[in-house]
């Protein structure tokens, strides 16, 4: 079945696949994970703030994002971001936004909903005595969060946050629907140009599989180490 398998098409396109495609995918993954964790933590703090309105807004945001398919959200932001840009800058026409910026905004805001649920669980897992003790020492709310609660919540949730980042890494392949050349997009461009769908799609499957496997193995090791210290 591999009789007319053309390995050369993979070799010829390696530099395009990795220097252009994989760089895009990894940059998007890491920036969106960072932004998503920051926003997600803020959303989690809003939900746990005890104030009705911020808690309500954060809850609605999370529920909305979590009930929509990512593909639809990608389309939404692709068309919406130029108008938001126009509104923010006060220009007379919708702002042109590049493919990378548009997908970065999409993934950051979408994943923030998922990261916020993880951070919320992390914050709630800290025993009540800790913030109480911090308050007794005279720390303000923001100091309590900054120095006592969040560092521990983050540390406990690190494996889950990283697992979600692996999911995010796989999900970035969906920018394919906007014909953006991420790793899969680049592979599919070559595949269609050279008529080599089988080779290119099998190869990208192997690459995604290898990276995700290694990453989740690393997370499992980390989890064992964290569990041991406790």
């Amino acid at each position: 079945m591999f009789a007319n398998f053309d390995f050369d098409v993979i070799r010829r396109s390696l530099s395009y696949l990795f220097f252009d495609g994989m760089t895009f995918t990894l940059t998007l993954t890491s920036l969106a994970a960072f932004g998503g964790i920051v926003f997600g933590t803020l959303i989690a703090l809003m939900r746990l703030s005890g104030y009705w309105l911020p808690g309500r807004i954060a809850g609605l945001y999370v529920d909305l994002m979590r009930s929509l398919p990512l593909v639809l959200v990608i389309f939404w932001f692709y068309f919406l971001v130029p108008y938001i840009g126009q509104w923010l800058t006060g220009s007379s026409r919708p702002v042109r936004v590049g493919a990378f910026a548009s997908s970065l905004i999409t993934f950051t805001l979408f994943e923030a909903a998922y990261f916020s649920e993880i951070m919320r669980a992390g914050i709630q897992s800290i025993s009540k005595g800790q913030p109480a003790a911090a308050q007794a020492l005279g720390l303000t709310y923001s100091q309590t969060m900054r120095y006592v609660v969040l560092p521990q919540a983050f540390r406990n949730m690190l494996p889950v946050l990283l697992t979600q980042t692996i999911v995010l890494f796989q999900d970035t392949s969906l920018v394919y629907v906007l014909s953006i050349p991420d790793f899969l997009g680049a592979a599919s461009k070559v595949a269609q140009r050279d008529g080599r769908l089988v080779e290119m799609y099998l190869f990208s499957a192997v690459v995604y599989f290898a990276i995700s496997c290694v990453a989740s193995f690393g997370v499992r090791r980390l989890q064992a180490r964290i569990a041991f210290v406790h």
């Binding site: 591999f2 398919p69 990512l70 999900d171 392949s173 089988v198």
Partner: protein, 243 residues
């Protein structure tokens, strides 16, 4: 904003001749639900079998289960759909590949099977977690009573597990519905694709996406409410989820 809103666009006839734009979106919704339910059946059957295999005492069975789950979990769904749709017909023997390519409606079948198998790995993990969450005493007691492994699963472990698993299964079913939209890439004209088509025909981007968003929300709410009734009916008395 210089965007021209026109909410009446839904009642205008769509250029593809199937009725109004609203009809177009609704037919997409039907296809989304149809794909999701069929994929869910596949996911439940394969997921339950693989999940049970991972908890069996046999080394071979649990390694096969482990390999299965890792295989389907470590590749993006989109890549898996491409493998089923573009790659599989090419690497099969010629006559089979030809037969596969000539099946009418092949995006629908590919999406159903691809999404079903992708979700089955996650159902398997939930099944395994459910079985492992039972107190060890249950299995030991069943063994002490002289039940075989098959009987232990059939009469003791699975009836408990399936009921404990309902809440996580609900959210996996919601994921299945959302994941059907990935099949837009292999040409399945489900709800997101219909919204996109409507945007291209009518230029009313935000109306089309708003309508799709509302339809997805309604489906979610209906599933959550329906499952809450099922969960209440099947809850195990004395367990956290039971009353």
């Amino acid at each position: 904003m210089n965007y021209h809103w026109n909410w009446r666009v839904f009642w205008e006839p769509a250029p593809n001749g199937t009725g109004t734009y609203l009809d177009m979106l609704l037919s997409g919704l039907v296809l989304t639900i149809e794909t999701a339910i069929r994929a869910w059946v596949i996911a439940l059957i394969f997921g339950a079998v693989i999940g049970v295999m991972r908890t069996l005492p046999s080394r071979t069975a649990s390694s096969i289960g482990f390999a299965y789950v890792e295989f389907f979990r470590n590749m993006p769904l989109l890549v898996q759909l491409f493998l089923w749709f573009f790659v599989l017909p090419e690497i099969l023997p010629n006559s089979w590949g030809l037969w596969l390519k000539q099946i009418p409606n092949s995006p629908f079948y590919t999406a159903t099977i691809g999404i079903g198998l992708f979700m089955s790995a996650r159902v398997a993990e939930q099944t395994r977690a459910g079985i492992n969450s039972l107190p060890r005493g249950q299995q030991l007691a069943a063994t002490a009573l002289g039940l075989t492994t098959a009987q232990t699963y059939r009469y003791v472990l699975l009836p408990m597990t399936l009921r404990i698993m309902l809440p996580p299964l609900t959210s996996e079913f919601l994921s299945t519905i959302k994941n059907t939209s990935v099949a837009i890439t292999i040409g399945l004209i489900e709800l997101t694709a219909e919204a996109r088509a409507m945007q291209e025909f009518s230029f009313q981007v935000f109306e089309a996406f708003t309508a799709a968003t509302i339809l997805y929300l309604v489906v979610n709410i209906v599933v959550v409410i329906a499952m809450r009734f099922v969960e209440r009916g099947l809850a195990i008395p004395g367990y956290i989820t039971g009353k």
